[in-house]
């Protein structure tokens, strides 16, 4: 394993060469796992220009090997970022190439954001030479950012075996991560609630692995017992959800978390379930982009043209009637253009 890390370091210098925005160069940079190219490509995905985003994501193409996406979720301040630092460097030590995406909240008032995840994992990232990117959620609910789907595809194309996603500090109903991640790790800590909390619906149901973090705190074993009780009520078939205790005071405690994640990966691979849901979500987003580009934008153009030509009296016509008429016109024009030679 030490040779793997050595190779990584040797390549390290080369990876910081000049950032190029030229798309073909970006794509080849991503394939070579150049951090600068990956970073710039993610920026373009974030930018909101659907044409450029499409250009990059199309040219990346279908990956030879799907990455395993690990979603880390849990309430704010529970220790997700610190845990990811130790987890990602532990995975690199085992020879698994790992990258991290961390999502933080944007302000609903100004749109600004304080991306504070990196600071908790900085040392691990540096020592193990791990690519990590912070994303702001830009007002998106559900704990994820819209760009996360595209960013995951870029990291996959860079040849990462494991991609760790940290959600925004999540509440009981922030469940979007379940469509993107293969393995969902819910991080909890002592003192959050009793066994009734533990059998609630929502985030408690969707998790594949439970972590009780801050095991050095009082009441940690009671918290573990509460979760183990609900896990013991699971049906006997399929995946048996493990409960793992971790603490930053004892780095060997992360070993059992890595083992649990790896065995869930094997479980999914054995049943051909790896990235099935994600594939569907990627398709949906691509479809939305396509509809936006080919239909929604054109329809809005039509609307503005009509308004300019005063064919439509926006003051008197009911908006829904107008919308229906516009869409029908649009379809008619499309049919004519496709039927004529």
């Amino acid at each position: 394993m030490s040779t793997f890390k050595g190779d990584q370091r040797k390549q390290g210098r080369k990876r910081w060469s000049r950032i190029k925005t030229n798309v073909s160069e970006l794509i080849s940079g991503i394939r070579e796992n150049k951090f600068a190219s990956i970073a710039r490509a993610i920026s373009i995905i974030e930018d909101g220009n659907s044409v450029r985003r499409k250009d990059i994501l199309r040219r990346i193409g279908k990956p030879e090997k799907r990455s395993h996406i690990v979603g880390i979720t849990g309430p704010p301040g529970i220790g997700k970022s610190t845990l990811i630092g130790n987890l990602s460097s532990g995975m690199m030590d085992q020879g698994l190439r790992t990258s991290v995406l961390a999502i933080d909240a944007s302000s609903p008032f100004t749109g600004g954001s304080l991306l504070g995840n990196r600071i908790r994992m900085q040392e691990n990232l540096r020592d193990a030479n791990i690519f990590m990117r912070s994303l702001a959620n830009r007002g998106e609910k559900g704990g994820l950012s819209r760009s996360a789907i595209g960013a995951v595809r870029i990291l996959e194309a860079a040849g990462n075996q494991e991609i760790i996603i940290e959600t925004v500090g999540a509440g009981q109903a922030d469940l979007d991560i379940m469509n993107l991640a293969d393995t969902i790790v819910l991080v909890l800590a002592p003192g959050l609630g009793d066994e009734i909390q533990a059998i609630k619906a929502g985030i408690m149901e969707i998790s594949d692995i439970y972590v009780i973090n801050k095991m050095d705190r009082e009441g940690a074993y009671f918290a573990m017992k509460d979760i183990e009780d609900i896990v013991s009520m699971d049906e006997n078939s399929g995946w048996k959800r493990p409960v793992v205790g971790t603490t930053n005071q004892d780095l060997s405690s992360y070993k059992s978390l890595i083992d649990a994640i790896c065995s869930h990966r094997k479980y999914l691979e054995g049943r051909n379930l790896l990235s099935v849901k994600r594939g569907l979500m990627e398709m949906e987003t691509a479809l939305e982009d396509e509809i936006d580009e080919k239909i929604t934008r054109k329809l809005k153009e039509m609307l503005h043209n009509e308004e300019r030509k005063e064919n439509v009296n926006l003051a008197t016509e009911d908006p829904y009637t107008a919308a229906e008429r516009l869409l029908q016109n649009f379809i008619k024009i499309r049919e004519q253009s496709t039927s004529s030679p």
């Binding site: 970073a39 993610i42 920026s43 930018d47 609903p108 100004t110 600004g112 954001s113 830009r138 007002g139």
Partner: protein, 150 residues
């Protein structure tokens, strides 16, 4: 902008700023005030934490693809450390990230810093609005450069 409005439909992403104290300097009250001010001005703000090396600051800036590195030092080492950051950027051929400085910087050091491409160099007591305006302008310049490389 209306509170709670979904911002994901915004065309341009907000400016992204990395705040750093790239030297032996543990006084981060000021830099935290700035972090909050930049956030409230609608920017996406990263803070590199205490005691990062210039190399780490640049690695973070490249990974996160920031527009501005805003450096602050209160220990008087700005001519050495800020220069090291600027030199490293030149070495690696990075010209689309703007460098902005601040801290306890004597008036006579400012021309030297400006010559390295490190602008601003605001001292204690500068109104936040002036710093924000400067960072926004520099960030817009950097963003334009990023687009030009297409």
């Amino acid at each position: 902008m209306a509170a709670g409005k979904n911002q994901s439909s915004y065309k341009q992403r907000p400016p992204k700023i990395l705040l750093a104290k790239p030297g032996i300097d543990g006084h981060d009250r000021g830099v935290l005030v700035l972090a909050r001010a930049f956030r409230d001005a609608g920017m996406e703000v990263l803070y590199a934490g205490l005691l990062p090396t210039p190399e780490e600051v640049i690695d973070t800036a490249v990974n996160e693809d920031v527009d501005v590195i805003a450096m602050s030092l209160l220990n008087g080492a700005h001519l050495t450390v800020f220069k090291r950051v600027a030199d490293l950027m030149k070495e690696r051929g990075i010209d689309d990230i703007a460098l902005v400085g601040g801290g306890t910087i004597p008036e006579e050091d400012k021309p030297a810093l400006e010559a390295m491409g490190i602008t601003g160099n605001y001292g204690p007591g500068t109104p936040l609005s002036i710093i924000i305006e400067h960072v926004q302008r520099r960030s817009a310049e950097a963003r334009k450069k990023k687009m030009e490389q297409d």
